[in-house]
Amino acid sequence: MSPSLTGTGHGAASRGGGGPPARAVPHWRRGLRPYLLIVPALLLTGGILYPFGLGLYYTVFDFAASKPQPDMVGPENYRRIFTESSFWESARVTVLYAVGAAAVETVLGVGVALLLHGSTRVGRVLEKILILPLMIAPVIAAIMWKLMLQPSVGVINHLLEPFGMGGVQWTDTPAGALLSSIAVDVWIYTPFVAILALAGLRSLPASPFEAAAVDGAGWWFTFRKLTLPMLWPYVLVAVIFRFMDSLKVFDIIYALTEGGPGDSTVVLQIRAYLEAIRFQRYSFGISYMIVLWAVVYLVTMVLVRYLGKVQNRAAEVPK
């Protein structure tokens, strides 16, 4: 095992050890202790989210800079959101963006991790700088990408010119704007998935693979039947984080397209920002965010449930 950033030396032993560990300890003393250990974490984060409750409360009013004395309007804000076609359009773009970005990052991230894991000399060098894109703040990365993609003075079109592609207008069409934003997201966050996948790979037990090799199993078979199912729980945690974050994407799109052209990249968080901060229709904007939050909540719940199943299944694979 190489002494690298992502090396996790513990896995080989534990995996061979048997079933899901959490279940292996039912006879341990029960009681308050686990709660005592978890509650501080909840209080610390929950405490800061106390204003979130207030936000929720605002949504039944019609607070706005132009309406300093608000009236209680009940579910009116939500009714408006769900009946406006612009909401559904934003929701559609948001989902496209999130699915697109998370999917590409997963495939690319796992691919890079597999290659780094299998590679010898080249990989060892490259692995050290894998994390670099993640270190540039996303707001700044997006601005730099915008500059690079600017057809008039940007470096990318300059480099593409010899290939007859110097005139590409990256963000000038709805599809182009969405794809360019996804590309920037992929550039920033693929290393995040790759690192967690690599850490997972390094902690897989050796024995099943040795057995498979003895049986003369092919590369594809080994990958599909062994590597992927065992690796999946690690990757899935990364995917959940990526998917959650890209559903509420803001800074990349704000810097790159500001939601344009037309309304084509106005994702939910952009619209919420415009409503709540820029246009100062506070209650309405916050309702947008609450809806977004609910969407992320539900989607993540499904994913996490699936993660639980996958973890259980993965634990059974080596047997």
């Binding site: 605002y58 607070f63 800079a65 008039s152």
Partner: protein, 474 residues
């Protein structure tokens, strides 16, 4: 002053989270406004006796500033303010792209974290009605608070009026309270690359038709004449309110077109009138044939840097966006940029829209006298002259500074700058209809412009926009 402060403080602590009703006024984003002032009159009335710069010495004023050459000039001169008044100034400078987010959150929270801040005339329409801005009128007219040397009549009248409003949607500027003072500004004109104009035998366009024709011609001919990748005219195109107000609104106004019509308090969107539709279609066409590639991502950064990099033959935007590329050593186009008022309207109009970096005071400031002395100094002749001559405060808001010999000498090096400035200054004013939903309206307008540029039918897009805005603005 604010009777609810104790309440608010109590309810805002973590422990009081459960008590529901007062929360709105408590935590609320402070939308309660400052109605408490209505009965009490202005704090300016408390200042009596003869005027004295030292009256508030020992105080500290907090300022929120945006990163800008005007700001740099102000900060460089702060020492002389402190010497003059005995007032210390603490300031925070934030990046331009996020400055207004910062300011908006701060003001809407109902806190007085800053006594003074920079804002634009359009922000008055959003910040004024909820009562976040101090009416400076009583301060200006109080001779105990304001020295004679401040000389209100010295400001260009359109600039002073831009910050004056009755807070009623649709009511014209120049009436009511003074919610912001002009400090530095930008007029929107055409700047062009003299090199390419000479080579192609062009003269600045005098009509919009000429401008459109010329933009396309530069895009077709300049690359062959040694200007690699050059296009005709740089104008903003991003999906932002800031796309509408410079070149677009200027040309739109020169055609005599209005954003809204106001009829007895009723505001009706007018960007879909047949004439407006025709103009908008022409504008989009001009951008397509002679504008920048990837136009829909263009903010002033891109416009300005393209002019400097000799990628744009012309720029129809703020004069500052061109000026800072034109000065010596700033860019490859330095020394080769000249100014022109831009195309006239069909009836010869040079109506021009503008951006004013103004200074405003927080209505909740507990330090208003000191804050007013600061505003008075920052917009006074002494500082503004120094900032214009020694700093980069290039568009003077005062007539006296614009006529100052040292200032004129400094600007002489830039071809056509002073002539252009003097030609348009009297016709330059805020061309928009003041109303609270300005940012929504112009953002949607920019999105509509992008759709028309993308090939959608101008009439239906603008009708859609007007219909949408009618319900929001009316």
């Amino acid at each position: 002053m604010d009777m609810r402060v104790p309440d608010r403080r109590r309810f805002l602590t973590l422990t009081a989270a459960a008590s529901a009703t007062p929360l709105l006024s408590a935590c609320g984003a402070g939308f309660g406004g400052n109605e408490e002032r209505k009965g009490g009159g202005s704090a300016a009335d408390d200042v009596t006796g003869s005027f004295d710069w030292k009256k508030a010495r020992g105080r500290t004023v907090k300022a929120l500033l945006n990163k800008h050459p005007y700001t740099d000039a102000l900060i460089a001169d702060l020492k002389s303010f402190t010497e003059k008044t005995g007032i210390e100034v603490e300031y925070d400078v934030f990046p331009e792209d996020n400055y207004f987010d910062k300011l908006t959150v701060d003001l809407s929270s109902g806190r007085a974290s800053y006594d003074i801040f920079m804002l634009g005339a359009y922000m008055v329409w959003q910040y004024g009605p909820p009562g976040w801005l101090e009416d400076l009128g009583p301060w200006m007219s109080n001779s105990s608070a304001t020295g004679a040397e401040w000389d209100q009549g010295d400001f260009f009248p359109n600039l002073l009026q831009a910050g004056q409003w009755s807070l009623k949607a649709g009511a014209p500027l120049g009436q009511g309270g003074q919610y912001a003072l002009p400090w530095g500004w930008e007029t929107n004109v055409v700047a062009y690359n003299t090199e390419v104009f000479k080579k192609l035998g062009l003269r600045p366009a005098e009509t919009f038709d000429e401008l459109r024709e010329m933009s396309g011609a530069i895009k077709r001919r300049a690359p062959g004449a040694g200007f690699d990748g050059m296009y005709g005219v740089a104008v903003r195109g991003s999906r932002s309110w800031a796309t509408i107000h410079p070149g677009f609104m200027t040309m739109y106004s020169r055609y005599g077109l209005k954003d809204f019509t106001v009829d007895g308090g009723r505001i009706t969107p007018a960007m879909n009138s047949p004439e407006a539709v025709a103009f908008t279609r022409d504008w989009a066409e001009m951008v397509k044939k002679g504008g920048p590639p990837s136009w829909t991502s263009y903010t002033w950064y891109q416009c300005s840097s393209d002019l400097g990099a000799k990628k744009a033959g012309m720029l129809f935007d703020a004069d500052t966006a061109a000026y800072f590329q034109a000065v010596k050593g700033a860019s490859p186009a330095s020394g080769k940029i000249a100014f022109h008022p831009g195309p006239k309207g069909p009836d010869g109009s040079l109506a021009t829209n503008m951006w004013i970096w103004s200074l405003g005071m927080n209505a909740r400031s507990g330090n208003k006298h000191a804050a007013w002395l600061f505003l008075q100094w920052a917009t006074g002749k002494e500082h503004l002259r120094r900032a214009a001559v020694e700093g980069n405060h290039i568009d003077p808001v005062r007539r006296s500074v614009s006529q100052d010999g040292a200032y004129k000498d400094k600007m002489k090096g830039i071809e056509g700058f002073i002539e252009t400035f003097e030609t348009v200054v009297d016709q330059t004013k805020i061309q928009f209809t003041p109303q609270e939903q300005f940012f929504d309206a112009t953002t949607s307008w920019a999105a509509a412009l992008q759709e028309i540029y993308g090939g959608k039918n101008a009439t239906s897009v603008l009708n859609g926009l007007a219909g949408d805005l009618a319900s929001k603005v009316g």
